[in-house]
Amino acid sequence: MSSAWLAPRACSVIGAAHRRQGKPCQDASLTAQLTGQGGQTLQLLAVADGHGSSRSWLSDRGSALACREAERAVAEVLAVTPLEDTTAWETWLASGLAAAVQRRWREAIAADWKQRKPNPPGPLEPVTYGCTLGLVLLAPRWWGCTGLGDWDLVAVTEKGSASLVSEEPSLGPQASGEATASLCLPEGPALWGPRAQLHPLAAQPQLRALVLSTDGVRKSCASDADFLALCGQVIALRSPQELEEGLAQITRQGSGDDVSLAMALRQRPPSRRWPLAAALLLAGATTLAVVGLVRRPTAPPADPVLVQQRALCADPSRIRANLTPRRAQLQQLRRDPSLAAQLLAAPQNDPLGALLARSQRGSLNPCPALEQQLMALWRDAGGKMPAAAQRSNERPPAGDRPAAPGSR
């Protein structure tokens, strides 16, 4: 079976701070193509981020072992689970894989600990190898993700719009600054569930690529809008060297943390063959258009905000993950409404920001789930989103107005 995914690649680059301090890169990443029953292929993307504190002094080994054991665990599951059985895969992603990877990782670090020379003093403490782990599974008809920790997964559409698909849920108000969930925690397997997702590709015709990264990438970007822009553009890189050099630049000018990125592009479906008659008709129409007898209206470019809105409403589980990091932007909009004009002037640069601006102006017609989340966000920011009743009385500027249904 041919793969639905192209050019999977992964790259980890040592952080500028670690390079300066003479420490190893504590990130690891991989891509793998696994073959299951009947020759079915499954692509795997993995990134792992070693904690790096003095307690986790072998976390570079921990992250490498996490990626290796994840690949083996997924291969085991693939050997007994047909890719068509999405229900079974959903269960694996939510719990079964978590238990298998965690068990394998603990065995692997125990073996690594035992063979270290000179023998380390005292018994093994898993935190010594502590790391996060993010996995993306790419099947011919679906994709899924799971793992734990502060990795990010971004989906990029055919139009180039990028949105967060998965990020670490808040660890609560008491969570300390740079804290994250980890494979070394006893409750680790339970932390995988909230990160597990499975999506049939048929339901996401606009999906172009998935970009998985460790937290060093996002923290190096000046804002989430920059991070999403980065993910939207990085998929066009063709050379592994460009990616590696780019990641080195990211850590040098950004957080100084190790950085890892793994991504894959979706195979574009082959263009449909036109029946002969239709082709002749099209040729005729084209000829007429050329001689000016038929004026074909030019299709307007897709509205990035509407594309963003549709993507969120098609999968409401992503709404909160995408909107919550925009609280600061919302506060800025509330304090300085003139910022909305900047966002709306170039919505393609930050579609989600432009969506917030439209919600402020009442010129958005969101699905109920999106509207509910936007209202909550505005309420938290001390403001109020214009009510639906008010919206109908406020005509947005022409360039800012979403197209009415059927107008295209």
């Binding site: 701070a17 904690h51 740079e178 925690l185 990085v234 066009a236 063709r238």
Partner: protein, 243 residues
């Protein structure tokens, strides 16, 4: 194809002094010692910032006496900071100071990507206003909860209980710990603590190491470095007890 041209940024590290400027600070040269200690610590702090370019160290100072007010209001790159002397006089509006502090630890103005801030409370006495309300207001801010909170007690009249509340739960066991108020009994030990907070702690807070969120460790935001030696350590000789 060139690598995507997006805005990259190092991460701001906010370091904020909260300085008691009540009348008692004028006695026995405490205020003079505090000004001198902070001023002398700045070159070392700037050096740590230079060594950790991934963190942008920004300093502010809040003074409190009859009222709380900003002494250094704008987050100032440590390399550009010129320390103006604080002056003593009045009572101890520590609660109001914490409320003022809470105002700047909201998001915004706090940046999404900021590192956990470092807050250093320095006092020689007891609050004369509603400390509890001020602390509650402060601790409602997620950035205050994530902050590295340190306290330095000047002399034996400082209210250690109040300072401990600011820091958070006392660590189990006895002994010296940065999670207890640091007791400075003379200008030398004060200078050492200020130097430690502005260099060793800033260095640790600048490190981009992530760490495990374990149950029951909510008050250990970054691994804090060892404390400097003081009079409390019998092997040290740092000068006479004067406060």
């Amino acid at each position: 194809m060139p690598f995507p041209n997006v805005r990259l940024s190092n991460r701001p590290l906010h370091f904020i002094y909260l300085c008691d400027c009540s009348g008692s600070m004028a006695a026995q040269g405490k205020m003079q010692a505090l000004n001198q200690a902070i001023r002398q610590s700045l070159p070392g702090m700037a050096e740590v910032a230079r060594e950790n370019p991934e963190a942008r160290v920004l300093v502010r100072a809040l003074r409190f006496a009859d009222r709380a007010d900003w002494h250094v209001q704008e987050p100032t790159p440590v390399q550009q900071l010129q320390w103006r002397d604080l002056e003593a006089g009045g009572i101890t509006a520590m609660g109001e100071a914490l409320e003022r502090l809470a105002g700047v630890l909201q998001s915004p103005p706090m940046e999404e990507r900021a590192l956990p801030p470092v807050l250093v409370l320095i006092s020689d006495g007891q609050p004369t206003d509603d400390f509890e309300t001020g602390l509650a207001t402060l601790m409602r801010q997620p950035w205050a909860q994530k902050a590295v909170r340190l306290a330095i007690a000047l002399g034996h009249d400082a209210d250690l209980e109040v300072l401990q509340q600011f820091i958070g739960p006392e660590p189990p066991g006895g002994g010296r710990s940065p999670r207890r108020p640091l007791q400075a009994s003379n200008a030398t030990s004060l200078a050492r603590y200020i130097q430690w907070a502005s260099t060793a702690v800033v260095g640790a807070a600048s490190m981009p190491a992530s760490r495990v969120q374990e149950q029951g460790d909510s008050n250990v935001n970054i691994p804090l470095p060892d404390l400097p030696p003081t009079l409390l350590d019998p092997t040290d000789d740092v000068g006479p007890l004067v406060w």
